[in-house]
Amino acid sequence: MRYTGEIFIVLLANTDQGQAQEIAQSIRQTVKEIQFSAAEFLVTLTISIGIAIYKTSGST
């Protein structure tokens, strides 16, 4: 979901840290491959992702 400005939040149900990292990496990779043309320039995008996990066993 779009949080504010250029910040998005992705909520993943039933996903542990390893899976979340994999998904985050694949999104990062896909975004990197978007060749964005603005005016006569080609823009390459990069994004930064921070992950948080809620574990039912307690600590996050």
Partner: protein
């Protein structure tokens, strides 16, 4: 002379009895309509309301009640899915992509079709699992001159619906169903739209605030992990300054599309 009078009297009596019979039948029909209408107005969600309509056949002593609903934008299917409505177990709800079938059936008049079941005309409206209905009514649901769909009723009794019968009740019923349906659809659309970011089409912050607690509770009770990541576009401000807002918006749309589809 006296014989003539007695016979007149008996004729009158039998006419009176038949009229009284009609009055009773009408009054019981009216009562059933009132029960139906009251229930219909009570429901707070689209799914609840549809469930009620689709199981109301016993209330009206019918063998079949179904709906055809037009869903040009796929919104209805989305709302039903979100509301946990099982389309497969309710074949009497037929979703149509447009109003072509209804235009072909009703023509310009938009009058209900009442009478015997004719496969060529009726098959598209009925998904019966047991006996084919013998007599049926297909009533258009209209709001603001546009078709929402149809209400379809069927009976194995060939006399239940006859083309000579007055359709006041069923037209009234379809008007009530139409209003209730439109109201519920508007409500769902409004709730949905308030949770979607209009630029990117992904859910917005309002959605997160509404949903986060539910998701945490759900993950907790199901002892499932719940992950969340925070995703920022590098140098977005610079991009905005250098190429302008239109380009920046396109970038947001492109990035949102990546994770919306993964």
């Amino acid at each position: 002379m006296e014989e003539g009078l007695t016979s007149d009297l008996m004729t009158l009596q039998s006419q009176l009895e038949s009229m009284l019979g009609s009055v009773h039948a009408n009054s019981s029909t009216l009562q059933r309509f009132q029960v139906f209408e009251k229930e219909l107005l009570k429901h707070e969600s689209l799914v609840e309301m549809l469930d009620y309509i689709l199981t109301a056949q016993d209330l009206f002593n019918l063998d079949y009640i179904g709906l055809c609903l037009i869903d040009a934008k796929g919104e209805l299917e989305y709302f039903l899915q979100e509301g946990g409505f099982d389309l497969l177990s309710k074949p009497q709800l037929i979703i149509l992509p447009d109003d072509k079938l209804l235009q072909a059936t009703f023509g310009l008049s938009s009058r209900p079709y009442v009478g015997s079941y004719k496969t060529a005309k009726c098959a598209d409206f009925f998904a019966y699992d047991k006996r084919k209905p013998a007599s049926i009514a297909i009533i258009p649901l209209l709001r603001r001159g546009k078709y929402l769909g149809t209400l379809n009723m069927g009976s194995i009794d060939p006399q239940q619906f006859e083309d000579s019968m007055a359709t006041d009740y069923i037209e009234y019923m379809s008007a009530v169903v139409g209003v209730c349906l439109e109201n519920q659809l508007n409500f769902e659309a409004l709730t949905r739209n308030s949770m979607v970011d209009s630029l990117t089409g992904v859910n917005n912050r309002h959605f997160l605030e509404q949903r986060l607690d539910d998701e945490i509770i759900r993950a907790h009770s199901a002892t499932e992990p719940l992950s969340c990541f925070y995703l920022g576009i590098d140098g977005f401000q610079q991009l905005n300054d250098e190429y302008g807002r239109a380009v920046a918006d396109q970038v947001l749309i492109a990035v949102a599309a990546v994770f919306a589809h993964s």
